[in-house]
Amino acid sequence: MSKTADKQLESVLSPGKGATPADWARIRAEFASKARKRGLVDISYEIHDSPFGPLLIGATTQGLVRVGLSTETQEAVLNDLAMRISPKILSGSRPQIKLARKQLDQYFSGKRKEFKLDLDWQLTHGFRRQVLDVTDAIPYGETRSYREVATQAGSPKAVRAAGSALAHNPLPIVVPCHRVLKTDGHVGNYLGGTPMKEQLLEMERGTA
């Protein structure tokens, strides 16, 4: 059999064009929607534009489980969730995500002082959970020191551990770890970088 006939045969057998980008986006979205309806998705997420860059908003059926700041890569955040909770993660919306996005916008524009969201705390346990619970209760426009938070969480000497708990807050902004400062009054560290922490505090001072 001739080489040209071979080549002809192989070109005839080759696949047709793939889907257009628009079609592919639609097909993906339909898949995510079907998967969610069948209860196959453990974590849904969307990317939300904010004054501090894109935020990854992740939710389980229990509630908001993760807020990823722009200082964290999406890939790292998702890989972490896949490892610690479940790899059944698909982009797409849930009511909890829609609500979180709406409330975040209100918060950033100074119209909301308190978040009213169902939170999924499964990523945080023990003392860290106590620290973040205490943090969650710090009112808008106020601050506490690491020492005060450690004390309220039941271990006045565990100031470093309290700092670590705050550094591992899976729900920054919503759980206001930005309201915790060093005892000497310095701003201290922040997941999203110190400038962001300062800006959040300034925004709250201005609107309080």
Binding site: A5, V12, P15, W24, F31, I89, L90
Partner: protein
Amino acid sequence: MKPFEHVIDQHGPAILRYCAGRVGPERAEDCFQETMLAALRSYEKVRDEKAVKAWLFKIATRKSIDIYRSHAKQDAPAGQLDPVESRRKSDQPGHSDVWSVVDHLPDKQRDAIYLRFQGGLNHREVGVVMGISESAARRNGFEGLKRLRSESGSWS
């Protein structure tokens, strides 16, 4: 395991193209959705990142055969147009003959050709999907091509 979202990023387009190749453009999306839902449902069973591609093509092959069979019964009661020909004509005019011959090859040759040409898999990957050795995959592919050449003449 990687987030399933990344699995779709990485393999989705190839699976969609493969589905279109096996069941035609009109049923490609259904085939794709069925494949991905089945994959997501059993995602925890995959232990190894490297096994994901072959596993997806295995599911897609099963689903496309199911869809092909169920529509073959519906579309082609005795005497009517072969469903393969009717769907092929809409996608690649003039090429419908080849695929109807492929569809009537022995199962292993048919699958080897689909996986190679519509799936873009190499011989080793074809073997993994089909659960046979690489050389058996190669052999089935070549036997299938030989049959195509002898049964169908020129393709232009």
